[in-house]
């Protein structure tokens, strides 16, 4: 059977740029058609910003890789026009079991918060995610949107220049030159761009290896997440079993640092271990095995003048909590509209510094969370192991100890507290929707709030009229007013609290920029200017 990741999805085609007399300059060039580069390209193209994506490969990611896509990622896919495809294919699970040694210490039901269009997360192989993103690009192309994806185009040189960056791109034919007003490096954890520019990639380093196996079960097997601490088949380490679509189960075995990778990967070595894990009577086929090495680290800063880093090239975390790809989508979500505003002259270049500020803050949070999980899963000292084991022993009979069990805290979006883009606030409204926070979804009759918060900046009036369009510096802002019967308990709880009405300014990435108890045009204009990177005195 040919696997999805063996078929060229964007095969090499000669571009007219290769025959141009002088290097062609594009507003935005993205290096890397991984999930992050693809998502960013869609965001730009669908809002009319021309974009070229270069990838040295021409296929989706090999093997399942990232498999947990969080609610926020699904909401971003909704905005990008491919949320339904992901959710229809994905697997939703709610039941989890935690094992310690050879016994089950407890099980839990996830029971996610009600009143959201999307589930807390879905399981989906990364190659499907990339496939749907590429299909969305094909749809945009069919609509005539300015987006190009060039397979087998490897960037081999990067040279920053005044107001642009020069690139050399190698292809199966000749190499050619290209110029980018803005270059976004989404070229993965090994980022050649970072290396070419000689930039550091430092931070707290946790060295660890994971054996990743995709197995196809030949009989029914429950749709549950099983996590083992210190199981007999993987002493002193952890193991995870998770369901994916197509009857594929994902198995992660933590291996530690000092291992012989080639030896560990051999099926003769892997299969007995899996039998021990799944039970002797479970029949399965091994589909894919890989060893994945990770460290927790990030770049000092994500913006280097006209070269911007997003996704794994900018930050890398442990897989506990599924923060790799999910945080990369939030990078793309944060960067897309900012690049557009700067390119269209509606915001100063400084706005892009807020990308660095906000996403570096998010990366620190992700590194902290995943470091804590790692400390719990692989205790670093005798005493930390004693406490870890005590927590697991207590968890069996005492519910209070269960929240202390840390097998990965699932990726949630960062709240950009203290961001230079945050405007007016009032503490009379609920904490969870303060400026900087991602706007939480809520039902609106048969529709959903987040589906209305699209197409640029939005002024959202709840029980409060707002003009349908407001403009500032020629920028059109969408007005959305929600009244009376459409305001359900979730919307009230999340956006009003004790108040009877409120006005929110929502950024194009659906984060709250500012909020008030009533509509005041001057105040909204000031907040909009601030959210576009203006300094205080410029809109005072």
């Amino acid at each position: 059977m040919t696997k999805l990741f063996e078929v060229p999805l964007y095969p090499y085609q000669r571009s007219k740029d290769q025959d141009a007399a002088s290097p062609v300059r594009h507003p935005v060039v993205i290096i890397g058609a991984g999930p992050v580069g693809l998502a960013l390209a869609i965001d730009l193209a669908q809002s009319g910003v021309p974009v070229v994506v270069l990838d040295e490969n021409d296929k989706v990611s090999v093997g399942s890789r990232a498999i947990c896509f969080s609610k926020r990622s699904l909401e971003i896919f909704d905005r990008l026009g491919c949320g339904d495809e992901m959710v229809q294919k994905g697997v939703v699970w709610n039941l989890g079991k935690v094992f310690f040694g050879d016994r089950k210490v407890y099980e839990f039901n996830l029971l996610p918060e009600d009143g959201h269009k999307r589930p807390a997360f879905i399981n989906l192989q990364q190659y499907y995610c990339e496939l749907y993103l590429v299909e969305r690009i094909r749809m945009l192309q069919a609509e005539g949107k300015p987006i190009e994806i060039r397979g087998r185009n490897r960037v081999s040189e990067i040279e920053p220049a005044a107001g642009h960056t020069r690139l050399i791109v190698e292809t199966p034919e000749d190499a050619y030159r290209l110029e980018a007003e803005w270059l976004v490096a989404c070229d993965g954890a090994a980022s050649p761009a970072r290396r070419m520019m000689d930039l550091e990639f430092a931070g707290r380093v946790f060295e660890d290896n994971f054996l990743i196996a995709d197995v196809v079960m030949k009989a029914d097997f429950p749709t549950e997440r099983w996590f083992w601490f210190d199981p007999p088949f993987n002493k002193d380490q952890s193991a995870l079993l998770h369901k994916q679509p197509d009857g594929v189960w994902r198995i992660d075995l933590q291996l530690g640092w000092d291992i012989d990778k080639e030896e560990e990967k051999k099926p003769d070595h892997v299969i007995p271990r899996l039998k021990q894990m799944l039970g002797d009577d479970v029949d399965f086929d091994l589909e894919w095995i890989s060893i994945y090495t990770f460290q927790c680290r990030r770049m000092g800063t994500f913006r280097h003048d006209r070269v911007i880093f997003a996704g794994d090239s900018a930050h890398q975390v442990s897989p506990f909590g599924a923060r790799g790809a999910n945080s990369g989508f939030q990078d793309a979500d944060n960067l897309g509209w900012k690049l557009k505003m700067v390119l269209e002259g509606k915001a100063p270049e400084r706005l892009l510094d807020s990308y660095a500020y906000e996403r570096e803050m998010a990366a620190d949070e992700n590194i902290l969370q995943s470091s804590r999980s790692t400390d719990f899963i692989t205790p670093k000292s005798e005493m930390s192991r004693i406490f870890r084991d005590a927590v697991l022993d207590l968890a069996e009979d005492h519910a209070f100890a269960r929240p202390l069990v840390n097998s990965g805290r699932l990726s949630v979006p960062c709240i950009y507290d203290g961001s230079p883009l945050n405007g007016a606030d009032t503490d009379l409204l609920p904490m969870r929707t303060r400026p900087g926070s991602p706007a939480p979804d809520a039902p609106l009759g048969a529709d959903w709030l987040l589906d209305r918060l699209k197409g640029g900046f939005v002024v959202l009036g709840i029980n409060c009229s707002v003009p349908e369009d407001i403009s500032l510096n020629g920028l059109k802002v969408v007005g959305v007013a929600i009244h009376g019967p459409d305001i359900g308990p979730e919307l009230r709880d999340r956006y009003l609290g004790e108040q009877s009405k409120a006005v929110y300014l929502i950024r194009p990435d659906q984060h709250v920029a500012a909020r008030w108890l009533e509509f005041d045009r001057t105040a909204v204009e000031a907040a909009l200017a601030k959210a576009l990177g203006a300094k205080e005195e410029e809109h005072a």
Binding site: M383, I386, F387, A390, L394, H398
Partner: protein, 69 residues
């Protein structure tokens, strides 16, 4: 934090005896595990992060290996 005030225990000797009894016959490893479970149970019973931070500081600043600054 220095000095936690007077004891809150009405029968200090009896509590101390129970504590030792609980460890009787345990290996060092089992005693360590017991203590860890006990600390977690007590932390949950106290249930106040600020008080717990204070207790962590008190434990760190008394005894021979104290971290005094």
């Amino acid at each position: 934090m220095t000095g936690m005030g007077t004891t809150g225990l009405t029968k200090p000797d009896a509590f101390y005896e129970s504590l030792l009894k609980a460890h009787e016959g345990l290996s060092k490893a089992d005693s360590d595990a017991f203590n860890a479970r006990l600390i977690l149970l007590m932390a949950n019973q106290i249930g106040d992060e600020a008080v717990l931070e204070g207790l962590l500081a008190s434990a760190a600043t008394s005894g021979v290996s104290a971290v005094k600054d």
